[in-house]
Protein backbone atom coordinates (compact mmCIF):
# COMPACT_ATOMS: atom_id res chain seq x y z
CA UNK A 1 0.00 0.00 0.00
CA UNK A 2 1.47 3.33 -1.09
CA UNK A 3 0.49 5.67 1.73
CA UNK A 4 2.11 8.29 3.89
CA UNK A 5 3.60 5.66 6.21
CA UNK A 6 5.22 3.89 3.29
CA UNK A 7 6.68 7.13 1.97
CA UNK A 8 7.90 8.15 5.39
CA UNK A 9 9.61 4.80 5.92
CA UNK A 10 11.17 5.04 2.49
CA UNK A 11 12.57 8.51 3.12
CA UNK A 12 13.67 7.78 6.68
CA UNK A 13 17.48 7.78 7.08
CA UNK A 14 17.89 8.23 3.34
CA UNK A 15 19.00 11.80 2.93
CA UNK A 16 19.71 11.24 -0.77
CA UNK A 17 15.99 10.87 -1.48
CA UNK A 18 13.47 13.68 -1.68
CA UNK A 19 9.78 13.53 -2.44
CA UNK A 20 8.58 15.48 -5.47
CA UNK A 21 4.90 16.21 -5.80
CA UNK A 22 3.09 14.81 -8.83
CA UNK A 23 -0.56 13.87 -9.03
CA UNK A 24 -0.23 10.66 -10.99
CA UNK A 25 2.19 8.55 -8.96
CA UNK A 26 4.75 8.60 -6.19
CA UNK A 27 7.75 10.60 -7.38
CA UNK A 28 11.17 10.87 -5.83
CA UNK A 29 14.31 12.79 -6.58
CA UNK A 30 17.58 10.95 -6.02
CA UNK A 31 21.20 12.07 -5.79
CA UNK A 32 23.11 10.85 -8.86
CA UNK A 33 25.78 9.02 -6.85
CA UNK A 34 23.18 6.88 -5.06
CA UNK A 35 21.03 5.71 -7.98
CA UNK A 36 22.51 2.19 -7.86
CA UNK A 37 21.67 1.92 -4.14
CA UNK A 38 18.16 3.08 -4.89
CA UNK A 39 17.71 0.55 -7.70
CA UNK A 40 18.87 -2.31 -5.45
CA UNK A 41 16.56 -1.09 -2.70
CA UNK A 42 13.61 -0.89 -5.08
CA UNK A 43 14.26 -4.24 -6.73
CA UNK A 44 15.19 -6.37 -3.73
CA UNK A 45 13.32 -4.84 -0.80
CA UNK A 46 10.45 -2.72 -2.05
CA UNK A 47 9.00 -4.98 -4.80
CA UNK A 48 9.43 -2.24 -7.44
CA UNK A 49 11.27 -4.81 -9.51
CA UNK A 50 10.17 -3.80 -13.01
CA UNK A 51 11.97 -0.90 -14.66
CA UNK A 52 9.32 -0.01 -17.18
CA UNK A 53 10.95 3.08 -18.65
CA UNK A 54 14.11 5.10 -18.59
CA UNK A 55 14.27 8.44 -20.33
CA UNK A 56 15.64 11.94 -19.91
CA UNK A 57 14.59 15.59 -19.97
CA UNK A 58 16.53 18.57 -21.28
CA UNK A 59 15.51 21.65 -19.27
CA UNK A 60 17.24 23.97 -21.75
CA UNK A 61 20.70 25.52 -22.04
CA UNK A 62 19.93 28.23 -19.49
CA UNK A 63 18.76 25.94 -16.71
CA UNK A 64 20.87 25.46 -13.58
CA UNK A 65 20.46 21.71 -13.85
CA UNK A 66 20.11 21.02 -17.52
CA UNK A 67 19.60 17.24 -17.77
CA UNK A 68 17.52 14.91 -15.64
CA UNK A 69 17.27 11.17 -16.16
CA UNK A 70 13.82 9.77 -15.35
CA UNK A 71 13.22 6.20 -14.16
CA UNK A 72 9.79 4.60 -13.96
CA UNK A 73 9.57 1.55 -11.72
CA UNK A 74 6.49 -0.62 -11.43
CA UNK A 75 5.53 -2.88 -8.56
CA UNK A 76 3.37 -5.89 -9.32
CA UNK A 77 2.62 -6.14 -5.57
CA UNK A 78 1.49 -2.54 -5.10
CA UNK A 79 0.21 -2.31 -8.68
CA UNK A 80 1.68 1.15 -8.77
CA UNK A 81 4.34 3.15 -10.53
CA UNK A 82 7.21 4.99 -8.91
CA UNK A 83 8.97 7.81 -10.70
CA UNK A 84 12.55 8.71 -9.83
CA UNK A 85 14.32 11.68 -11.34
CA UNK A 86 18.08 12.10 -11.14
CA UNK A 87 19.68 15.44 -11.92
CA UNK A 88 22.90 15.10 -13.90
CA UNK A 89 25.70 16.92 -12.09
CA UNK A 90 27.54 18.48 -15.06
CA UNK A 91 25.66 20.44 -17.73
CA UNK A 92 28.44 20.20 -20.34
CA UNK A 93 29.40 16.55 -19.96
CA UNK A 94 26.49 14.97 -18.09
CA UNK A 95 27.30 11.57 -16.68
CA UNK A 96 25.56 9.28 -14.19
CA UNK A 97 26.02 5.62 -13.22
CA UNK A 98 24.48 2.97 -15.45
CA UNK A 99 21.81 0.77 -13.88
CA UNK A 100 22.09 -1.91 -16.57
CA UNK A 101 23.95 -4.20 -14.15
CA UNK A 102 20.84 -4.24 -11.94
CA UNK A 103 18.14 -4.01 -14.62
CA UNK A 104 19.52 -5.56 -17.85
CA UNK A 105 16.59 -4.05 -19.74
CA UNK A 106 18.05 -0.60 -19.11
CA UNK A 107 20.86 -1.34 -21.56
CA UNK A 108 19.14 -0.14 -24.72
CA UNK A 109 17.22 2.60 -22.91
CA UNK A 110 20.48 4.11 -21.71
CA UNK A 111 21.94 3.85 -25.20
CA UNK A 112 18.91 5.70 -26.55
CA UNK A 113 19.24 8.44 -23.93
CA UNK A 114 22.94 8.70 -24.79
CA UNK A 115 22.09 8.87 -28.49
CA UNK A 116 19.40 11.54 -28.17
CA UNK A 117 20.70 13.65 -25.25
CA UNK A 118 24.42 12.88 -24.99
CA UNK A 119 24.17 11.77 -21.36
CA UNK A 120 26.92 9.26 -20.56
CA UNK A 121 26.24 6.25 -18.34
CA UNK A 122 29.39 5.16 -16.52
CA UNK A 123 29.79 1.41 -16.29
CA UNK A 124 27.56 0.72 -19.30
CA UNK A 125 28.82 -2.39 -21.16
CA UNK A 126 28.20 -1.04 -24.67
CA UNK A 127 27.54 2.68 -24.69
CA UNK A 128 27.20 3.63 -28.33
CA UNK A 129 24.48 5.16 -30.48
CA UNK A 130 21.40 3.03 -31.11
CA UNK A 131 19.16 5.10 -33.44
CA UNK A 132 21.49 7.46 -35.28
CA UNK A 133 24.68 6.21 -36.91
CA UNK A 134 27.91 6.04 -34.94
CA UNK A 135 29.60 9.11 -36.47
CA UNK A 136 26.60 11.43 -36.10
CA UNK A 137 27.94 14.56 -34.40
CA UNK A 138 24.78 15.94 -32.74
CA UNK A 139 22.27 14.98 -30.07
CA UNK A 140 18.84 15.45 -31.69
CA UNK A 141 16.61 15.79 -28.63
CA UNK A 142 18.62 18.59 -27.05
CA UNK A 143 16.76 21.88 -26.97
CA UNK A 144 19.14 23.74 -29.26
CA UNK A 145 18.87 21.11 -32.01
CA UNK A 146 16.40 22.17 -34.74
CA UNK A 147 13.68 19.69 -35.72
CA UNK A 148 14.65 20.01 -39.39
CA UNK A 149 18.16 18.82 -38.64
CA UNK A 150 21.67 20.08 -39.34
CA UNK A 151 23.68 19.46 -42.51
CA UNK A 152 26.27 16.71 -42.06
CA UNK A 153 27.82 14.20 -44.48
CA UNK A 154 25.95 11.01 -45.32
CA UNK A 155 27.03 8.06 -43.12
CA UNK A 156 28.56 6.22 -46.10
CA UNK A 157 31.26 8.26 -47.84
CA UNK A 158 31.28 6.13 -50.99
CA UNK A 159 27.50 6.43 -51.47
CA UNK A 160 27.75 10.18 -50.86
CA UNK A 161 30.48 10.45 -53.47
CA UNK A 162 28.49 8.59 -56.14
CA UNK A 163 25.14 10.25 -55.48
CA UNK A 164 26.11 13.65 -54.16
CA UNK A 165 23.60 13.17 -51.35
CA UNK A 166 24.09 14.60 -47.86
CA UNK A 167 22.10 14.85 -44.66
CA UNK A 168 20.30 18.15 -45.15
CA UNK A 169 17.82 20.12 -43.07
CA UNK A 170 14.30 19.01 -43.99
CA UNK A 171 12.10 21.68 -45.59
CA UNK A 172 9.80 22.81 -42.81
CA UNK A 173 7.67 25.09 -45.04
CA UNK A 174 6.29 26.94 -42.05
CA UNK A 175 5.90 23.74 -40.05
CA UNK A 176 5.93 21.66 -37.93
CA UNK A 177 2.54 20.44 -39.03
CA UNK A 178 -0.14 20.08 -36.41
CA UNK A 179 -3.85 19.27 -36.36
CA UNK A 180 -6.15 21.62 -34.52
CA UNK A 181 -7.80 20.00 -31.56
CA UNK A 182 -11.26 21.34 -32.37
CA UNK A 183 -13.45 21.96 -35.40
CA UNK A 184 -14.71 19.80 -38.22
CA UNK A 185 -12.63 16.76 -39.00
CA UNK A 186 -12.65 17.64 -42.71
CA UNK A 187 -10.90 20.92 -41.84
CA UNK A 188 -8.51 19.15 -39.57
CA UNK A 189 -5.67 18.16 -41.85
CA UNK A 190 -2.26 18.74 -40.31
CA UNK A 191 -1.13 22.22 -41.34
CA UNK A 192 1.69 24.57 -40.53
CA UNK A 193 0.61 26.98 -37.82
CA UNK A 194 2.33 29.87 -39.60
CA UNK A 195 1.76 29.68 -43.35
CA UNK A 196 3.14 33.17 -44.02
CA UNK A 197 6.60 31.82 -44.82
CA UNK A 198 8.35 28.90 -46.49
CA UNK A 199 11.93 28.14 -47.44
CA UNK A 200 11.33 30.10 -50.67
CA UNK A 201 9.59 33.13 -49.14
CA UNK A 202 11.17 34.61 -46.04
CA UNK A 203 9.13 35.18 -42.94
CA UNK A 204 7.80 38.77 -43.00
CA UNK A 205 9.46 40.65 -40.20
Amino acid sequence: MIDDDFIASLLKNREYLRKVHYDDCLSLSCAPSRILDLCLLMRDEQTFDLLSDLTAVDHGPQADVRFSVIYHFFSLVHKSYLRVSVDCPDNDTPEIPSVSSIFPGANWHEREVFDMFGICFSGHPNLKRILMWDDYPHFPLRKEFPLAGIEVPLPAADVAEVTGAAVEPAPMMGGPFVSSSSGRISQDEPRAKDESWTEQFEKPS
Binding site: L131, M132, W133, P140, F145, P146, L147, A148, G149, I150, L154, P155, A156, V159, V162, T163, G164, A165, V167, E168, P169, A170, P171, M172, M173, G175, P176, F177, P190
Partner: protein, 177 residues
Protein backbone atom coordinates in the same frame (compact mmCIF):
# COMPACT_ATOMS: atom_id res chain seq x y z
CA UNK B 1 -4.95 -5.66 -98.20
CA UNK B 2 -4.41 -4.51 -94.66
CA UNK B 3 -5.17 -7.12 -92.08
CA UNK B 4 -6.59 -6.01 -88.76
CA UNK B 5 -5.62 -9.25 -87.11
CA UNK B 6 -3.57 -8.67 -84.01
CA UNK B 7 -2.68 -12.27 -83.29
CA UNK B 8 -0.12 -14.39 -85.03
CA UNK B 9 -1.63 -16.14 -88.01
CA UNK B 10 0.47 -19.16 -88.95
CA UNK B 11 -1.48 -19.67 -92.21
CA UNK B 12 -0.41 -16.29 -93.48
CA UNK B 13 3.02 -15.96 -91.92
CA UNK B 14 4.24 -19.56 -91.80
CA UNK B 15 6.50 -20.39 -88.90
CA UNK B 16 8.27 -17.03 -88.93
CA UNK B 17 7.60 -13.91 -86.86
CA UNK B 18 9.09 -10.67 -88.08
CA UNK B 19 9.47 -7.97 -85.45
CA UNK B 20 11.89 -5.44 -84.04
CA UNK B 21 14.43 -6.55 -81.45
CA UNK B 22 13.38 -3.69 -79.17
CA UNK B 23 9.77 -4.79 -79.31
CA UNK B 24 10.43 -8.40 -78.43
CA UNK B 25 13.01 -7.62 -75.73
CA UNK B 26 10.72 -5.08 -74.10
CA UNK B 27 7.76 -7.43 -74.40
CA UNK B 28 9.69 -10.10 -72.53
CA UNK B 29 11.03 -7.72 -69.93
CA UNK B 30 7.82 -5.97 -69.07
CA UNK B 31 5.94 -9.19 -68.44
CA UNK B 32 8.57 -10.71 -66.20
CA UNK B 33 9.42 -7.93 -63.77
CA UNK B 34 10.70 -9.54 -60.59
CA UNK B 35 10.28 -7.07 -57.74
CA UNK B 36 12.74 -6.52 -54.93
CA UNK B 37 10.48 -5.64 -51.98
CA UNK B 38 12.32 -2.91 -50.09
CA UNK B 39 9.75 -2.83 -47.28
CA UNK B 40 10.70 -0.12 -44.81
CA UNK B 41 7.39 0.92 -43.22
CA UNK B 42 3.62 0.56 -43.47
CA UNK B 43 3.64 0.76 -47.30
CA UNK B 44 5.12 -2.73 -47.21
CA UNK B 45 1.81 -3.99 -45.79
CA UNK B 46 -0.01 -2.63 -48.84
CA UNK B 47 2.70 -4.18 -51.01
CA UNK B 48 1.92 -7.52 -49.41
CA UNK B 49 -1.77 -6.95 -50.07
CA UNK B 50 -0.97 -6.27 -53.72
CA UNK B 51 0.75 -9.64 -53.85
CA UNK B 52 -2.12 -11.47 -52.19
CA UNK B 53 -5.02 -13.06 -54.04
CA UNK B 54 -7.48 -10.16 -53.88
CA UNK B 55 -5.27 -7.81 -55.91
CA UNK B 56 -2.96 -10.46 -57.35
CA UNK B 57 0.12 -8.80 -58.78
CA UNK B 58 0.88 -12.09 -60.59
CA UNK B 59 -1.62 -11.02 -63.27
CA UNK B 60 1.25 -8.82 -64.47
CA UNK B 61 4.00 -11.42 -64.11
CA UNK B 62 5.33 -9.71 -61.00
CA UNK B 63 4.48 -12.19 -58.29
CA UNK B 64 8.04 -13.42 -57.96
CA UNK B 65 9.15 -11.23 -55.06
CA UNK B 66 12.85 -11.84 -54.71
CA UNK B 67 14.54 -11.02 -51.43
CA UNK B 68 17.90 -11.22 -53.14
CA UNK B 69 18.78 -8.15 -55.22
CA UNK B 70 20.75 -10.32 -57.63
CA UNK B 71 17.55 -12.00 -58.78
CA UNK B 72 15.34 -8.93 -59.14
CA UNK B 73 14.63 -6.28 -61.74
CA UNK B 74 12.52 -3.68 -59.97
CA UNK B 75 13.09 -2.32 -56.49
CA UNK B 76 9.83 -1.24 -54.85
CA UNK B 77 10.87 1.17 -52.11
CA UNK B 78 7.88 0.85 -49.78
CA UNK B 79 8.29 3.06 -46.77
CA UNK B 80 10.25 5.73 -44.95
CA UNK B 81 13.89 5.98 -45.98
CA UNK B 82 15.98 7.20 -43.06
CA UNK B 83 19.45 8.54 -43.63
CA UNK B 84 20.82 5.50 -41.85
CA UNK B 85 18.90 3.19 -44.21
CA UNK B 86 19.64 5.18 -47.39
CA UNK B 87 23.12 3.67 -47.55
CA UNK B 88 21.63 0.17 -47.39
CA UNK B 89 19.05 0.97 -50.08
CA UNK B 90 21.79 2.22 -52.37
CA UNK B 91 23.99 -0.83 -51.76
CA UNK B 92 21.11 -3.21 -52.50
CA UNK B 93 20.31 -1.22 -55.64
CA UNK B 94 23.94 -1.51 -56.72
CA UNK B 95 23.75 -5.29 -56.37
CA UNK B 96 20.80 -5.58 -58.76
CA UNK B 97 21.77 -6.57 -62.26
CA UNK B 98 20.90 -4.30 -65.20
CA UNK B 99 18.35 -3.60 -66.50
CA UNK B 100 16.73 -2.42 -63.29
CA UNK B 101 13.94 -0.08 -62.32
CA UNK B 102 12.80 1.62 -59.13
CA UNK B 103 9.30 2.41 -57.90
CA UNK B 104 9.04 4.90 -55.01
CA UNK B 105 5.89 3.71 -53.26
CA UNK B 106 4.11 6.24 -51.09
CA UNK B 107 4.70 9.73 -49.81
CA UNK B 108 7.74 8.89 -47.66
CA UNK B 109 9.78 7.17 -50.35
CA UNK B 110 8.83 9.89 -52.85
CA UNK B 111 9.41 13.03 -50.78
CA UNK B 112 9.96 12.17 -47.14
CA UNK B 113 6.22 12.46 -46.63
CA UNK B 114 5.10 13.73 -43.27
CA UNK B 115 8.56 13.20 -41.78
CA UNK B 116 10.10 16.65 -42.06
CA UNK B 117 12.74 15.61 -39.63
CA UNK B 118 16.46 15.31 -39.05
CA UNK B 119 16.42 11.51 -39.45
CA UNK B 120 14.52 11.04 -42.72
CA UNK B 121 15.85 11.41 -46.25
CA UNK B 122 13.51 13.68 -48.20
CA UNK B 123 12.87 11.25 -51.05
CA UNK B 124 14.74 8.12 -52.04
CA UNK B 125 15.61 9.76 -55.38
CA UNK B 126 18.47 11.44 -53.51
CA UNK B 127 20.39 8.17 -53.70
CA UNK B 128 18.81 6.04 -56.45
CA UNK B 129 17.10 6.97 -59.75
CA UNK B 130 13.32 6.51 -59.50
CA UNK B 131 11.18 5.53 -62.49
CA UNK B 132 7.67 5.78 -61.04
CA UNK B 133 6.41 7.66 -57.99
CA UNK B 134 3.21 6.54 -56.26
CA UNK B 135 1.25 9.02 -54.16
CA UNK B 136 -0.63 7.99 -51.06
CA UNK B 137 0.03 7.39 -47.41
CA UNK B 138 0.03 4.48 -47.83
CA UNK B 139 -1.13 3.96 -51.45
CA UNK B 140 -3.85 1.40 -51.96
CA UNK B 141 -2.80 -1.79 -53.76
CA UNK B 142 -4.64 -0.56 -56.87
CA UNK B 143 -2.37 2.49 -56.93
CA UNK B 144 0.69 0.27 -56.81
CA UNK B 145 -0.70 -1.92 -59.58
CA UNK B 146 -1.35 1.21 -61.63
CA UNK B 147 2.22 2.31 -61.05
CA UNK B 148 3.51 -1.09 -62.12
CA UNK B 149 1.44 -0.83 -65.31
CA UNK B 150 2.95 2.61 -65.91
CA UNK B 151 6.35 1.03 -65.40
CA UNK B 152 5.43 -1.61 -67.98
CA UNK B 153 4.57 1.17 -70.42
CA UNK B 154 7.90 2.79 -69.70
CA UNK B 155 9.79 -0.46 -70.20
CA UNK B 156 7.92 -0.87 -73.49
CA UNK B 157 9.29 2.46 -74.74
CA UNK B 158 12.93 1.79 -73.91
CA UNK B 159 15.62 1.51 -76.58
CA UNK B 160 16.80 -1.82 -75.28
CA UNK B 161 19.12 -2.72 -78.13
CA UNK B 162 20.92 0.59 -77.96
CA UNK B 163 21.19 0.22 -74.19
CA UNK B 164 22.66 -3.26 -74.59
CA UNK B 165 25.40 -2.07 -76.90
CA UNK B 166 25.86 1.49 -75.76
CA UNK B 167 26.39 3.10 -72.42
CA UNK B 168 22.94 2.23 -71.18
CA UNK B 169 20.93 3.95 -68.50
CA UNK B 170 22.70 6.43 -66.29
CA UNK B 171 23.27 4.81 -62.93
CA UNK B 172 23.36 8.02 -60.94
CA UNK B 173 20.42 10.35 -60.43
CA UNK B 174 20.60 13.78 -62.03
CA UNK B 175 22.05 16.40 -59.76
CA UNK B 176 19.27 18.10 -57.83
CA UNK B 177 18.99 21.83 -58.04
Amino acid sequence: MISNEVGYNSKVEGEVIVTRADAVINWIRKHSVWPMPMGLACCAIELMAAAASRYDISRFGMEVMRFSPRQSDCMIVAGTVTYKMAEVVRRIYDQMGDPKWVVAMGACASTGGMYRSYAVMQGVDNVIPVDVYVSGCPPRPEALLDAMMKLQDKIGRESSVRNLTGTGRPCTPPASS
